[in-house]
Structure formats: structure tokens, C-alpha cells
């Protein structure tokens, strides 16, 4: 790896002190004079039509200022949501909002509002809706085909098989692709595993609920909101409120997690703005945990069938995937498609087919959740891989290696018969370094070890997911105070990448980090065009964009120095806050001097002339900053070798008590192909944090619906069970190792990791449980005490393997 000054080094991010001292201002920490508080009226039914609303008793209450109904919102096209509705399609969907002088008054007012609802047919389980004569979650259909809402029923499939927990693959679907000949691939296989699989839906449950506060001044709306992205939330927020982007100032300095549920903010963020407009006062909308549970998005569950053919040497000849996706009531998630894309990369099957559809249900709205589809793919396929390894007599890690992608490996849905490719994959290398660092063979030797009624299980799983984007802009100014101001349009989601990626610019300038100021979290602070703070794109996209800006600044520094001190720019170099002669380093200019010189020169030096390929958003921002100092501004035009994907291999050790069904995760280790490591500390946080979310999927987090009513009964953390601190291995610190092999097609070679990390945790744990139980494969997540005991005791299962939301 290259010898970097900043890259790959630990440091403390600029927001750290504010966070640990509680001074960081999250959306709900802001206050404005005369601020009102908003409360939402949630639907008590899974699907209903509002017949009438009587707000008279609420309006008569002292302190109640305004009420906003769905009729007052800018309209949206089906199947999208508006934030308030007259046809709620899931329990908890807001019907109207009340703003009052305090939250208690607002809540009391909600209780006094009489809403007459007409119950409508509802579906909780996608398969319920596909059943002939089954209910549809929406009045306009139960699925979407070719971007049109439509209704599909499976009239001619074997429903008795479904009731037994076996997924047939002959039902009508909306989406299909094939690479090679899957039937032939299966026919030539020495071993075919054919499994019905189930992955649960899971709420995002970020620590910070989706809060927003808004007020209006001189026709401009100021919105303080909990969102993952900053710049990329700005447009959607303005559209949601119904104003031009220049009339909106969006502030989001900190975000307590989103996991994909707040990528561009959230649909209800318009509500405080519209309430404020109506009331003429600032309005704060704090979302409670229970509200968050409903409106806070969820990962689509999958019900499916996976067939994999293996040659006796372990090579996968064919992979056939069939999925029914639980699409929630709105929009369209692509999880089942992503699952196939990622599987096609991870396992490089010689032939591959995807068939599937997404079915609407009256359960919380879905959105991308950390590795959307990628997690499901690993959770469902890793145990099948391990089963195959056992049956073929191959070390499971070796089976990963045998099928691993390498170099610019192919992946995904073909266009015109051709699959795309990734920019790089160093999976075998990650397997090697994991095997040696973690002593995999010694781990494997512990498999099956008994300790009283407890038995040890060992699992390993490969996970891949998207890890990059490109074409963004970098923007910085070196000002007469000698500091480098790096403007970041990405959000501060808590991953640290808003700071980590700024270091690429300082690396280009070979200047200490304490000379940098990162500007973020407020759209009035002139932010450049950015990726969404999602899809694990930031690290890749913005090391590139900031490097481009840094290199642009460096070129300008060299030119200024040459102009001021003579010689050609090539005679100069930049480091430690100076531009200086290579052959006589004492001669040069400090950044402060260079900045003043740039202002004198004007033109492109101080941002009065801008490159022609910048995004208009960046042009606006740069224009506002012009003349403040030397401007480094550039679009990321670096080369690209393909889709950017990172990889992680998780190694887990569990202990399963055969008498109580209790699972204790004893150890988790992870090796990764993440390109160049930018910040070891934040990488560790992502590798482990992602894995913990994977443990959640594998071991406990789920929700439960009573189908008679279509209502959820597990609304509290203690009943939907995300993992706690003590569910994470804690006797020894979890280990990790990164290959630190740069992606050859990126100047700095960095890739994202946040999403990749999750599947590795989930897959490894599921394999470890199966290993402990001696071929105890469930093909269903999460695996919990009741399922384990039911299996051990050979009891009749309480629910079908395909049953959703139990």
C-alpha cells in the first residue's frame, strides 16, 4: 500500500467531543421562539377508508393551534405515500397532524378527534394475497409489473405445498432473468440442494427517531431534520413542502442512525413545515419510538426457493432463485433483485436464474435497509453453502474460495445478454488472511465440542455488497487564515465518512489534519453535489471527489507559487500547509499567502471561473464561495473499472444449549476486502456494527402480527428484540482484519463497507447454529429458542416455514 500521510491512520473526527459531551444538536435539540409541538393521529386499522373526521372537540381545546389533514397536502402518485392519508394502508399510518403549545396538549387533542373509518380488506402475508380470492393490500392492486400497479393471483399453484412450507416455483411472477442454462447446470451437477427459504421483515429502528422541526422566515423555510444525507435530502424536502429548493434551508448536523430509512429524509418531514406555514409559528415534530416502529421503514421479507447445483469439486454449476417479496404497502423495493445480483457475484454460479415478484402487504412501508437484498441473500444461501460443504466433504471456507469472484468478476442481471462486472474482488485473499489471522482450522476443530448440554458450532460466510459511487464534486477553499475549508454535502450519519473522506483532500495537499475545517450539515453553507449518504457509497465516491478537489487546489497552488516565485509549476510541491520549491524547500508560500494571492488573481483561482463539468448545485455553492480564497473544485472524473463492491468473510462461534435452545454467540471475527483502509477506527465500527445488525437478523429481531386484525403485537424493543450489548461477543474483543489492497481503478482505492459487513455477521452465525445442531438447518430467520427446541424435541412446528410475521 502507498505511504500515506493521513489515509489509513486513526484520528478523532471533528464531531466526537460534541457527541460524547451531549452538546451535539440533533433535530429534536433545536428550539425556536413560540415553537409548537406536533402529534400524529395513527390509523388503528391495517387498511381503511376515512369516512369522516370530526375535529371540533380538539379545536375547542385551549392550546390547540392547527390541524393538518391529508386533503391539504400536495398530491402524490400511487403507489407513493404523502405522509398523511385518507386511506391508511398500514396500522399506525398517520391520518392527520395536530400542532399545539405542548406535546401533552397535542396528544390530548388527538384523543378528542373522532375519525370514522370503514375497514377495507387487508393482507399481512404476501402469500395470503397471492392465494386465489385472497385480499389485496391496496385497492389498486397487489403488485407492480412494468411500473404499473396490477393484481396477480396464483390460481394454478400447489397451495397444499405452500401450507406444508414448500414454495412452488410455477406461480406467475413479474421479474425474471437468466444467465447460461440453469436447467442444464442443475442436470450436470453432482449435488443439488433445493431449499424453501424465508427471511423476515425487520424494522430499521435507528436510535434517533425521525424528528423534524420547521419555521418560516421571509418566505424561506428552515427545516431541522434527522436525515442520513444533507444535500440529497434538500431537493426531496423542498418538493415535499411544495417550494423551490432555494427557499429551503435544511439543517442536519448529526443523525442518530438511519440504516437506509432516512436516506433522503422521510416523507413526514414535510409535516412540521406545512403545520408551521399554517400556524405561523415554528413546529417541532418529535416521533416517538412506537410511531417510529410504524412509519420508520422496514426491510422487505422474502419467501422463496433456492436451488443450487454443485460439482463434486465444489464449483457451483447453477443457482436458481425464486422469491416472493413482502413489499409493504407503498413504493417498490428491489431487495429480491439485489439478492440475486449479490449472489451471482459471491458464488459466481456458471448459470443463474432469478424469478420473483414483490407483493404489497398492509405492514409498515419498506425501504432499503443496510445491504437491501444482500443480507437476505447471505442469510438464505450461506447455510446452504455450508450444507453443501458438509455433503461434499469440503472445508466451508474452501468452498467459498472455490466459488469466489476474482478481479473484475461478472455479476447481476444481464443487459443484452451480458453481465456487468465489478471493479475488483480480492475474496480469495480475504479468505487467506482470515484463515491465517483467526486460525480458522483451530476454530473448526472446536466444532461439536460438548460442555455439558452445550455444544459448540462454527460458521463462516461470505458477504458482498455495493461499496461505491462516482461522478460527484469536491469543493474546498484555502482561505487567508491558512486553513483548508472542505465542504461536504454528504450527511453526518455517524459513520465518520463525512470527515474520513475529507482527509483525501488533505492527503492531496500533504497537510496536517488540524489545518482542515470540514463544513457540513447545513445547506446554507454552500455544499457541493454529493452522493446520498447511503448505499455504502460515500467512502468511495467522496475520497475520489475530495481528492479531485485537493489535486485541483494543489495544481493551483503550484501555479501560484511558480507565478509568484518563478520557475514552472513542476518545480514546486505542496506539503504541510505550504507550497515550496522542490529543490529549495525553504522558498515557498504558506497557504495563507497563497490564498491571498489566489484572491488577487481571481478567475479560476478563487472560484470566479469554474470547470464546465460541475453539477449545477456545486456551481451555485462555488459561486457563493468565490473570492474567499484559493478554490479547489472538481468533478470526480477518475477512471472506473466496474461496479464497486466490497467483501467480508465472517467467522462465528456459538454455543447452543441442547436442553434450553439457548444460543450464545461466543466469538465473531471478520476479514475484509475493502480496498484501501481510510480510517481503521471507523472501519472497525462498521465491520462490527454491521455484523451486530446481522446478528439481529439471525438471532432475534422480528415482528409479529395477529392476522385476524392485521395488527402488530410486538411494538416494543423487548418484544421485537433487536440485539443488546450482551448479545455481542464480549468475553474477548471481536477481531477484524482488512487486506488493505487498493481497488485498482480508484486513485486512492477505497471502498465502502457498511452494508457488506452485515451479511457476514448474519450468515456466519446461522451457519454456526446449524453446525452446533449437527445439520440443524432452518432456512428461516431469525432462529430463536422456540425453533431450536422444537427441532431438538422433534415437536410439530408451530408455524409453516413460509409463514410471515409470526
Amino acid at each position: 500500500m502507498a505511504d500515506y500521510k493521513l489515509i489509513g491512520k486513526n484520528y478523532s473526527t471533528a464531531d466526537l467531543v460534541a457527541k460524547v459531551t451531549g452538546r451535539a444538536k440533533y433535530a429534536e435539540d433545536f428550539r425556536a421562539d413560540g415553537m409548537l409541538f406536533a402529534k400524529l393521529l395513527p390509523s388503528p386499522m391495517p387498511h381503511a377508508r376515512v369516512r369522516s373526521i370530526d375535529t371540533s372537540a380538539a379545536e375547542a381545546m385551549p392550546g390547540v393551534e392547527v390541524i393538518l389533514t391529508a386533503d391539504e397536502l400536495p398530491p402524490v402518485d400511487a403507489p407513493n405515500e404523502a405522509g398523511l392519508t385518507n386511506e391508511p394502508v398500514y396500522e399506525g399510518e398517520p391520518i392527520l397532524a395536530v400542532a399545539a403549545v405542548d406535546e401533552t396538549t397535542a396528544a390530548d387533542a388527538i384523543e378528542r378527534i373522532r375519525v370514522e373509518l370503514e375497514p377495507l380488506p387487508f393482507a399481512v402475508d404476501p402469500l395470503e394475497s397471492l392465494r386465489p380470492g385472497g385480499p389485496d393490500a391496496r385497492l389498486d392492486g397487489n403488485t407492480m409489473a412494468n411500473s404499473e400497479l396490477t393484481t396477480i393471483k396464483w390460481n394454478d399453484v400447489d397451495w397444499a405445498a405452500i401450507d406444508r412450507g414448500e414454495m412452488p416455483t410455477d406461480g406467475p411472477i413479474t421479474d425474471e432473468w437468466e444467465v447460461g442454462d440453469v436447467e442444464a447446470g442443475l442436470a450436470e451437477a453432482d449435488l443439488v440442494l433445493d431449499e424453501t427459504v424465508f427471511h423476515q421483515s425487520m424494522g430499521h429502528q435507528p436510535l434517533e427517531t425521525r424528528t423534524a422541526m420547521a419555521y418560516w422566515q421571509n418566505g424561506k423555510c428552515y427545516l431541522y431534520v434527522s436525515t442520513q444525507s444533507t444535500l440529497r435530502t434538500h431537493g426531496p424536502a423542498a418538493r415535499g413542502i411544495g417550494i423551490a429548493p432555494e427557499d429551503l434551508v435544511l439543517v442536519s448536523e448529526y443523525c442518530g442512525g438511519g440504516f437506509g430509512s432516512k436516506i433522503a429524509g422521510f416523507v413526514q418531514m414535510r409535516l412540521p413545515a406545512l403545520l408551521s406555514q399554517k400556524a405561523g409559528k415554528p413546529v417541532m415534530m418529535r416521533i416517538t419510538r412506537q410511531e417510529e416502529h410504524f412509519i420508520g421503514r422496514a426491510r422487505p421479507g422474502l419467501q422463496g426457493r433456492v436451488k443450487i447445483g454443485y460439482r463434486s469439486d465444489g464449483r457451483i454449476t447453477a443457482m436458481d432463485m425464486f422469491f416472493v417479496q413482502d413489499g409493504g404497502p407503498y413504493g417498490f423495493s428491489t431487495d429480491f433483485m439485489n439478492a440475486a445480483d449479490q449472489a451471482s457475484l459471491m458464488y459466481q454460479p456458471l448459470s443463474h436464474r432469478l424469478r420473483g415478484l414483490s407483493v404489497y402487504t398492509n405492514t409498515p412501508p419498506r425501504s432499503a435497509q443496510r445491504a437491501p437484498g444482500g443480507l437476505q441473500a447471505v442469510s438464505m444461501i450461506a447455510p446452504i453453502m455450508q450444507k453443501a460443504a458438509n455433503q461434499l466433504g469440503i472445508d466451508p471456507l474452501e468452498l467459498i474460495r472455490i466459488n469466489a469472484p476474482a478481479g473484475q468478476a461478472k455479476l447481476g442481471r444481464p443487459t443484452n445478454g451480458e453481465q456487468g462486472n465489478v471493479s475488483s474482488a480480492f475474496v480469495r485473499e480475504a479468505a487467506d488472511i482470515g484463515e491465517s489471522t483467526f486460525d480458522w482450522q483451530a476454530m473448526r476443530a472446536r466444532s461439536g465440542r460438548r460442555n455439558g448440554s452445550k455444544v459448540t458450532g462454527i460458521g463462516v460466510a461470505l458477504s458482498s455488497f455495493n461499496a461505491g459511487a462516482w461522478g460527484m464534486d469536491g469543493l474546498l477553499t484555502i482561505r487567508p487564515d491558512g486553513k483548508v475549508y472542505i465542504h461536504q454535502g454528504v450527511g453526518n450519519l455517524g459513520t465518520g465518512s463525512v470527515f474520513d473522506t475529507a482527509r483525501a483532500a488533505m492527503e492531496a495537499l500533504q497537510t496536517d489534519w488540524d489545518q482542515a475545517e470540514v463544513i457540513w450539515g447545513d445547506t446554507s453553507k454552500h455544499l457541493p453535489w454529493s452522493t446520498v449518504q447511503a448505499g455504502s457509497t460515500t467512502t468511495h465516491a467522496h475520497t475520489r471527489a475530495n481528492l479531485a478537489a485537493g489535486e485541483d487546489a494543489k495544481r493551483k497552488l503550484l501555479e501560484i507559487a511558480a507565478g509568484a516565485l518563478g520557475g514552472s509549476p513542476d518545480d514546486y510541491d505542496v506539503a504541510d500547509g505550504r507550497v515550496f520549491r522542490r529543490d529549495y524547500p525553504r522558498q515557498g508560500l504558506g497557504f495563507a499567502q497563497a490564498a491571498r494571492r489566489a484572491i488577487e488573481l481571481g478567475g479560476r483561482f478563487d472560484g470566479h471561473e469554474l470547470p464546465g463539468d460541475l453539477n449545477p448545485v456545486t456551481v451555485t455553492a462555488a459561486t457563493a464561495l468565490a473570492g474567499l480564497g484559493l478554490m479547489g473544485v472538481a468533478r470526480d472524473n477518475y477512471p472506473l473499472g466496474g461496479r464497486v463492491i466490497s467483501h467480508a468473510i465472517g467467522f462465528a462461534e456459538v454455543e447452543v444449549d441442547l436442553e434450553t435452545g439457548a444460543v450464545v454467540l461466543k466469538d465473531y471475527r471478520v476479514s475484509t476486502d475493502v480496498g484501501t483502509v481510510i480510517n481503521p477506527r471507523t472501519l472497525e465500527a462498521q465491520l462490527h456494527g454491521g455484523a451486530i445488525q446481522g446478528f439481529s437478523a439471525a438471532l432475534g429481531q422480528k415482528w409479529t402480527y395477529d392476522r385476524r386484525w392485521g395488527l402488530q403485537v410486538s411494538k416494543r424493543f423487548y418484544s421485537n428484540r433487536p440485539p443488546t450489548m450482551l448479545d455481542v461477543p464480549h468475553e474477548e474483543p471481536m477481531q477484524w482484519v482488512a487486506q488493505d489492497k487498493p481497488d485498482p481503478f480508484s486513485p486512492m482505492g477505497a471502498k465502502g463497507i457498511g452494508e457488506t459487513a452485515e451479511g457476514a455477521g448474519s450468515g456466519a452465525v446461522l451457519c454456526a447454529i446449524a453446525d452446533a445442531l449437527g445439520e440443524g438447518y432452518f432456512n428461516r430467520t431469525p432462529v430463536m429458542t422456540d425453533m431450536i427446541l422444537t427441532r431438538i424435541e422433534n415437536l410439530p412446528p408451530a408455524f409453516s416455514n413460509l409463514a410471515a410475521h409470526v
Partner: protein, 278 residues
């Protein structure tokens, strides 16, 4: 005072839950009030009537009447007491917990209910085919006669009042009330057993629609509290000294000739030396 207890279903829609327990207290106090009224009536009004009518035992066509006349067969008496016992058990198990005397009541309640059902079914068959079926039902002539009695008690001149047949109108009225209330609680009670775990079937609270269930609880409750009033007044009459000969007849099965002749019209309740079977 409330008549019904309303609740909401999980969707927030209003639904009928059961009768308000205010009605239990109402039924209790109604029974007490009736008894108080009757005591006053018996103490103040009846002697006056008796004096006015010059009441006394009539002698007459009694030659053929045996010394003991069978009023209730053994079978009928067993039925009555089984029914009474199960009814008391049902009232105690049904209502004591509501008024604050708590104990595990449910199993006793449904077992007693099943026992009551069996005894009532037996009674219906027995009374229909083996007893004088019409003797207990109110006939148009009963009503005409009752009207005359009321007029006479109010001091008006009427045709002579005939004595009763086997069952006087008040007994028939009581029987009718018990029949209606009994059928209501039994019918609903049996259906309500679907809501609890029993040895007969797996419970299923969704067997009927919520509103139907609500109606079941209301009818069961109304029947139940009506029985509070009916039982109170029944016990009151049973222990009244002037009615005790009737109570005795439900224990021993017969009435004495004197009582028979005093209260009944032999033409309307025909007994003979042989007719001791009732």
C-alpha cells in the same frame, strides 16, 4: 346507571361487551323491594280482603278426596331441586366474584350450567309427555279470572271468583318467567362455552362475530340478573308461613286435603283416590 357495558375492538370500533353490572344491583334491589311490598300487602291488605270476603274453608264435594293429594311426583321434585341447586350454584359463581367475593368460579359455573341444561331437558320431556302439560301454562281464562280478582280486590262487584286449578296464575307467571330467563341463559351459556377451554371443543372466540358475541353476553347477563330477582322472590314465598304447605309439597310431594280444598277447585284440579300420581 348504565344498562350496557361498551368497549372497543382492537380496531377502535365500539362494541357491546356485556350488560352493566349496575343491573345486578338493580335486580337485587328490585327483588328486595317486591318482597317488602308483598309483606306490606300481606300484612295490611290481605286481612282486610279476607274480612270483606268472609273467607273460610268451604266444605263440599270432598268425599272423594284422599287425605294426601300428590302435587309433585318424585321425578318432578328431583328435577326441581337439582335445578334449584344448579341455579343457586350458577348465581353464586356468576355473581359473587362481581360483588367482591372471589374464588375460582368458572369450572363450577359451567359444570352447574351443564347440569342445569340436562335437568331442564329432562323436565321438558317429562312435563310434555308424562305430566299434565297445560296445567302450568297461562290460558285466556286465567287472564279473565285474574282481571276479576283484581277488580274484586279493588272493591268492585264481580262474578264469583273460582278457586285455582293445580297452579294459580302467579305460579304460572313465575314459571313463564323462569322458562324464558332459563332458556336465555342456557342457550347463550352453551354458546359462550366456546369461549373457554372445555373438554368438549377447542375454544374459539372468533366463532361468531363480535357483535353476536356481545349480544350473547347481554342476553346471558340479563337472564342471569333476572334470576337474581326471581330467586329472591321465590325463596321469599317458599319460606312464607302461609305458603309453606306448598314448599312442603315440593319436599314431600303431597298436599293435605284441607289445603287442597281450601285453595283449589276440585273441578279444575281433579283428584281421585287413585290419582295420587299427580
Amino acid at each position: 346507571m348504565e344498562i350496557f357495558q361498551w368497549g372497543t375492538d382492537p380496531w377502535g370500533q365500539e362494541m357491546l361487551v356485556r350488560i352493566s353490572w349496575d343491573l345486578l344491583y338493580l335486580a337485587f334491589w328490585a327483588g328486595v323491594a317486591f318482597i317488602a311490598f308483598h309483606i306490606i300487602y300481606a300484612v295490611v291488605w290481605l286481612p282486610r280482603l279476607a274480612r270483606a270476603n268472609g273467607a273460610g274453608a268451604e266444605s263440599g264435594a270432598a268425599a272423594n278426596v284422599p287425605a294426601r293429594i300428590t302435587r309433585h311426583t318424585a321425578a318432578a321434585r328431583y328435577f326441581h331441586w337439582v335445578m334449584a341447586a344448579s341455579m343457586i350454584a350458577l348465581l353464586i359463581t356468576g355473581f359473587f366474584p362481581i360483588v367482591g367475593i372471589q374464588f375460582p368460579w368458572l369450572t363450577i359455573h359451567w359444570v352447574a350450567g351443564v347440569l342445569l341444561t340436562v335437568s331442564i331437558v329432562y323436565h321438558m320431556v317429562h312435563a310434555t309427555f308424562f305430566l299434565d302439560f297445560w296445567s302450568i301454562w297461562i290460558l285466556p281464562s286465567d287472564l279473565a279470572e285474574a282481571w276479576n280478582r283484581i277488580r274484586r280486590q279493588a272493591g268492585q262487584q264481580t262474578a264469583p271468583i273460582r278457586k285455582h286449578g293445580k297452579y294459580p296464575l302467579d305460579h304460572k307467571l313465575y314459571h313463564l318467567a323462569v322458562t324464558l330467563a332459563g332458556l336465555a341463559v342456557i342457550g347463550t351459556g352453551l354458546v359462550l362455552m366456546l369461549r373457554i377451554d372445555s373438554i368438549f371443543w377447542p375454544r374459539n372466540a372468533y366463532f361468531l362475530a363480535d357483535e353476536t358475541w356481545g349480544l350473547m353476553y347481554v342476553i346471558h347477563g340479563l337472564g342471569g340478573v333476572l334470576f337474581v330477582t326471581l330467586t329472591l322472590t321465590h325463596v321469599y314465598f317458599a319460606i312464607r308461613p302461609d305458603k309453606f304447605w306448598l314448599t312442603k309439597s315440593m319436599i314431600l310431594g303431597y298436599v293435605d286435603r284441607d289445603r287442597y280444598l281450601e285453595h283449589h277447585d276440585p273441578d279444575r284440579w281433579v283428584v281421585s283416590q287413585e290419582s295420587n300420581k299427580g
